[in-house]
């Protein structure tokens, strides 16, 4: 025993140190993934006996309008949420100056990220309210008909995304502000001597130095878009008639909400969502791996 230990100490030690982490990760992440996949082959209300139904949950999904509405909304969320990155960059550039009291302005711009998503949702619900919301008061004052943004299937998702962009822009802004602090003044000096200014300066000199900030901003924005649950729940509860659901919300509705408790179908939706996220996670891991190998 002791000779085996001595011989393989170098090899075993890292695993021993990793063991607690691996154990927790397995129990709370890896094993539940397989459990979810397993549940997705059953019809189960969470109380009684689970009945094996094979691929039936997935077959049903292919024929389920609500599922495709949710999937479509997920894509819209992912695409439009990206606007937070340029918007955040713009605000950061705007605030990156030395004026008296600039810290106060910075804090005010960062404020929406500090308050809870639920509060953001409520504020925007009132903002859009068709009878007393400021949006419709403005629209009416310039002669337009009021729009019930959150009650209209064509606008509701965009209305929620706009609400989500408010705190997300603030988040990207703070990332870029810290990034801008690290920009090398000598390079800017040199670029100035070479007569670079305006957009060219930004594109060729500043942005490349902000690459790490951009990468983090991209990651948190994608994550933010995929976990867009609280805003939907607060602002429309998935409505009107299910037109603002995203996959995460649909999964919750099917599996846990008042009228749901179809654990099998909910799990099947979760598996599909997982597969979609896996594409992105794999890309992310590949990039990390490549970067670490390169250095």
């Amino acid at each position: 025993m002791s000779t085996y230990w001595k011989k393989n100490q170098q090899k075993l030690a890292p695993w021993l140190f990793l063991a607690p982490g691996i154990f927790m990760f397995a129990v709370y992440v890896i094993i539940p993934i397989f459990q979810s996949v397993n549940i997705s082959f059953y019809a189960w209300d969470g109380l009684g006996e689970a009945k094996y139904v094979g691929m039936r949950n997935y077959v049903e999904m292919i024929d389920d309008e609500a599922f495709f509405t949710s999937l479509k909304n997920n894509v819209i969320w992912l695409l439009l949420y990206m606007l937070a990155i340029p918007a955040g960059l713009f605000v950061a550039l705007f605030l990156n100056q030395t004026v008296r009291g600039i810290r106060i302005y910075k804090s005010l711009f960062f404020f929406p990220f500090v308050i809870s998503q639920v509060v953001v949702g409520l504020v925007f619900t009132w903002f859009y309210d068709p009878s007393f919301g400021i949006l419709n008061i403005l629209l009416m004052s310039i002669g337009f008909e009021p729009i019930a943004v959150l009650a209209d299937e064509d606008f509701a998702t965009y209305g929620i995304i706009a609400a989500g962009l408010w705190p997300q822009t603030a988040y990207c802004m703070i990332l870029y502000l810290t990034g801008l602090n690290a920009v090398d003044p000598e390079q800017i000096e040199a670029a100035r001597l070479d007569n670079a200014k305006g957009f060219k300066m930004l594109w060729y000199v500043i942005l490349p130095q902000l690459k790490p900030a951009t990468f983090i901003a991209l990651v948190v924005t994608i994550i933010g878009a995929l976990r867009s649950f609280d805003l939907i729940s607060i602002m429309t509860a998935g409505g009107p008639w299910g037109s603002t659901r995203v996959l995460a919300f649909y999964m919750y509705e099917q599996a846990f909400s008042e009228y749901g408790f179809r654990m099998g179908y909910g799990a099947a939706i979760a598996v599909v969502l997982f597969a979609i996220m896996m594409v992105y996670i794999a890309g992310f891991l590949y990039k990390m791996y490549r970067d670490e190998k390169g250095s």
């Binding site: 068709p130 009878s131 019930a148 009650a151 509860a237 409505g239 008639w241 008042e258 179809r262």
Partner: protein, 412 residues
């Protein structure tokens, strides 16, 4: 030796006392009665029970409504209380089927409840056994602005033509006939219930919610056609999908809308908002098809004993207490609702009296509510369809086909 025995006996006695204090004397009650009136009613109920049963101490866990719907599944299986509140009809079916509620036929037999609670026996019975004790119910119907009706010379409409004519008069006066907030869907379920009960009757409505009739049936279409008449005539407030039921009270309070198809619980907030009893009235949903006996909607709230309860003996005493006529009189006075016990007296509030009179003379049957009569999944799909229909009535065929597809899957 003697001394030792004495200590042993004392220790034994102490431990039995302790265990009886823990098990025989402690009653755990979980409810979601967190609104002011229901909370006060349960406080009084529990205080009254403790006063009559000094050997029992009650621990009461109060949940919020939404959280309760999820947590009841957890606590019934894992950490069951001795008494929990829930709802009659199909809503309790999953728990009965999963064996999580205890049958309480003995409580009914021992206390003569089959007579005094006879009106609710049907909705408490599943597979020939009784699964709980009902303690309150309330009527649904049309709440309306009496003053606006009078100002425009409108009499209370008793039939469909009068109802449509009343709406036209209101519109001419610049008042939207009916307010509703469908953001959380169930309000539209109440409207569907009444339209279907009046168009096709109770038997048909129950068969439909039990999944025995196709949603694409012509009789369902007839109901939707009546609904479409109201939509096309502009009876409903605009943008109702953006409002909760509470937000939809505002137009009625401000006099921009004149009617609300609602349960009696809407009276309290309407009064709080400043409407007096001279301004606010109630009438039975008008007759649509004169050949159909008038059925009403009156959801029943109930108390149950979980199968995993620790102190079932005292729980049975509690249920018997709640079923008593004088107790039901008292709690419903506080709740502002109707007692189930036929020996109870109804508060002298005019809406309660109106509801009591309407429900006790109903010959068509009493429905619980769309989401209590239909299984949860069907209710969700149905109410979502109704909401969509109210905004886009031209999509009727698509909606009914979608519901029919859901029926095929849910009731298999």
């Amino acid at each position: 030796m003697f001394h030792r025995t004495k200590t042993l006996v004392a220790a034994l006695a102490a431990s039995t006392m302790l265990s009886s204090a823990l098990f025989a004397g402690e009653l755990v009650i979980n409810t979601d009665t967190s609104d002011p009136a229901p909370k006060a009613a349960f406080e009084a109920l529990i205080a009254g029970f403790e006063a009559e049963n000094p050997d029992v101490s009650v621990t009461w866990n109060l949940f919020d409504h939404e959280g309760y719907k999820t947590s009841i599944r957890n606590f019934l299986t894992a950490d069951a209380p001795d008494v929990a509140n829930w709802y009659a009809g199909n809503r309790m079916l999953p728990y009965v089927n999963a064996g999580l509620f205890e049958p309480v036929d003995d409580v009914w037999d021992d206390n003569g409840l089959r007579d005094s609670l006879a009106s609710a026996e049907g909705s408490m019975t599943i597979d020939g056994q009784i699964w709980g004790v009902p303690y309150t119910y309330y009527q649904w119907g049309v709440y309306y602005r009496k003053d606006i009706f009078e100002a425009n010379g409108i009499a209370v409409p008793a039939n469909w033509d009068d109802f449509l004519a009343a709406g036209e008069t209101l519109k001419a006066a610049g008042v939207t006939p009916i307010t509703i907030g469908t953001k959380f869907l169930w309000t539209a379920g109440g409207v569907f219930d009444y339209l279907n009960l009046r168009t096709n009757g109770y038997e048909f409505h129950m068969a439909l919610t039990k999944g025995e009739i196709a949603w694409t049936d012509d009789r369902v279409r007839a109901t939707m056609e009546n609904w479409k008449t109201l939509i096309d005539a502009g009876f409903w407030i605009e943008n109702h999908a953006a409002y909760s039921w509470q937000e939809a009270l505002a137009p009625m309070v401000q006099g921009d809308a004149a009617m609300y198809v609602m349960g009696n619980f809407a009276v309290a907030p309407l009064r709080e908002a400043g409407l007096t009893d001279d301004q606010l009235g109630f009438f039975q949903f008008p007759v649509i098809n004169p050949d159909v006996p008038l059925a009403e909607e009156a959801p029943t709230d109930t108390l149950h004993i979980p199968s995993n309860a620790k102190n079932k003996e005292d729980a049975r005493r509690f249920l018997a207490y709640v079923a008593r006529a004088d107790v039901q009189t008292q709690i419903n006075e506080t709740l502002g609702q109707l007692p189930i016990n036929s020996g109870s007296s109804v508060g002298d509030d005019k809406f309660l009296q109106a509801g009591y009179e309407m429900l006790s003379t109903t010959d068509g049957g009493i429905a619980q509510f769309f989401d209590r009569d239909a299984p949860a999944e069907m209710a969700k799909a149905g109410m979502e369809g109704f909401q969509e229909f109210m905004v886009n009535p031209d999509r009727l065929d698509t909606i009914l086909e979608r519901l029919e597809k859901a029926r095929g899957r849910i009731y298999q």
